[in-house]
Symmetry: C2
């Protein structure tokens, strides 16, 4: 009763009294096989509990129906929702997801490429913002595997990209602050060498420029996007004694740092200071005051990225090699009119 070995296509063929070719066709191109035969086959499949051996199939077909996800940090609150989107689309199309957490370690990036070179994965989704170390440096492998970058673009490599329009989103955010009456607006999280940060800063500058506001350079503070950097940045402002009425932060984590610092100094938020984030991570609504921010359509980003990759994989020309989605303004309690 209990089958020791898994049933193979041959067992099914024997039971149905046909050749293995016919079984294969009955499964993969049902129209090409006579009704009666097909019934016999499906019957035999049910009786044997047969499932196609994916390894043999991949070997023959030269593709694995697997996608490798390369992410610097799977714990990033931005990551998981995108992953769910990726996964929704992937499993809809019969693909599986292989996860590679690199922690920004070049050797791990390289290591994970073995999945590509060994045919265990057909394509690549990049969260890292750069090509995996070991890919594309030598001219030998000018042939890059099919891949798409998500969330963070890869600079100077013409890699298809799906993400949010950071420039536009930051501009909308800054304009919201301006519309509330703020004129002295800080930007926390400057990092010119990180594309996302740079774009958001540009959006901020564009909004202030558009409103005819001169930017006090002391209100622009470096940061690496961590909560701690936000906290430190806020403290720095007090040291410099150049205070804004509102903080536009490069992301929610940074904004939480700013809020923590201001709370610690016993300011009454948002009455005395407005704070705005970007991303709308899940905890943004839990901090006090709950965070006004720009929401990234993460699920859709994941879906769009996977969709793009799969069309690339199918050898078709994609509609566009860059998909920019709009961030949505989420109004909560951390922004109000400036004091006075």
């Amino acid at each position: 009763m209990l089958q020791q070995k898994l049933a193979t296509i041959e067992d099914v063929a024997a039971m149905a009294g046909v050749s293995i070719a016919t079984v294969s066709r009955a499964i993969n191109e049902p129209t090409k096989v006579a009704d009666a035969t097909r019934r016999k086959v499906t019957d035999a499949i049910a009786r044997t509990g047969y499932t196609t051996n994916a390894m043999a199939r991949s070997l023959r077909m030269r593709r694995s129906n697997m996608i490798l996800i390369l992410a610097p940090d799977v714990g990033d609150p931005n990551f998981s929702n995108i992953l769910v989107g990726l996964e929704t689309e992937a499993s809809k199309r019969g693909y599986g997801l292989l996860i590679g957490n690199t922690q920004n370690d070049p050797s791990r990036e390289t290591d994970y490429l073995r999945f590509i070179s060994s045919n265990q994965a057909d394509g690549l989704i990049l969260f890292t913002g750069h090509l995996p170390f070991g890919l594309g440096q030598s001219p030998a492998d000018a042939r890059l595997p099919p891949m798409v970058a998500v969330n963070e673009p890869v600079l100077g490599e013409d890699i298809p990209f799906v993400g949010v329009d950071n420039f536009e989103g930051a501009r909308v955010a800054a304009e919201h602050l301006i519309s509330q009456g703020h004129r002295r607006i800080a930007f926390v999280g400057r990092a010119p060498n990180r594309e996302i940060n740079r774009l958001r800063e540009d959006g901020y500058r564009a909004a202030l420029g558009g409103a005819g506001i001169n930017i006090d350079p002391r209100l622009i503070i470096d940061g690496d996007g961590t909560t701690e950097s936000g906290r430190a940045a806020a403290e720095l402002m007090f040291v410099r004694d150049a205070l804004p009425t509102a903080f536009l932060c490069v992301n929610d984590a940074t904004a939480m740092g700013v809020i923590i610092a201001l709370n610690a100094r016993r300011y009454d938020l948002p009455r005395q200071f407005s704070v705005m984030g970007f991303d709308d991570i899940s905890f943004a609504s839990f901090i006090t005051p709950s965070l006004t921010t720009m929401k990234q359509p993460r699920h859709r980003m994941g879906e769009a990225a996977m969709e793009l990759l799969l069309t690339l994989l199918a050898g078709e020309k994609p509609g566009s090699r860059e998909v920019l989605l709009r961030a949505e303004l989420i109004l909560r309690n951390s922004v109000t009119r400036p004091p006075g």
Copy 2:
């Protein structure tokens, strides 16, 4: 210069002037091949850029060196760190991780089993707390694939388990509150049919019992572990007009809900109420007041679970089929002595 097709073992063999068997041995059992030959082979490998085709290898070896991770929600803040632990151990041993996000949808659970039955994954890590739907119901597949449950045990199935000692952890937490002088301690997040919740509640009861404290049943409130359920629970206490001096919450998310509710009612925390969580998720330190909680050794849980699974996979007898790690008390600012 650019190889159209990937090099196979045959190309390497030809270039090195040996048979493919020797190449295979030079790679997999280097000691079994003469030094001079081995050098010729490694040389040829380098020149051709050969990598073993994992599909052919898996087909032949009947294992894929892949592990399927079945999780209800990859966005769970508890999840990612465990995943990193799993991944650390897995890639150390040459295994890859396949991710299956089930959203507690039985059909998705079943669907993901195709990776097991098609030989694409050798083993299973279960975050779900139950067998995937479709496994183990019919007596036919009495042969379960190698698997281990992590974080949440599978009830009544004798599945190897790695997790935290929830009973002991909750007891330590409750004892901490008692040591601060609390006598009226609420338990938020009762859910008798969820093993984790049940154990934590038991630990709470044990601590209070041990201290000779009678438990007011009105201080035990149901909850599903979400932030919203914590908020609702706190509100319910006010309605019931049965207030504790401290809230022991089944997890951090619930605790954050309680804190949000108390903050909203303008209580001064922790002076008027103490709140304790369990898990130490990353945001626990960011809420105000920062959360005193029990830290789960998530990274180690992941490593231990993968280690256990891999020994199972190797056919060896594991040291123990259940690994219970200790949760660590993390002192922050949400707990103090009761008022008065």
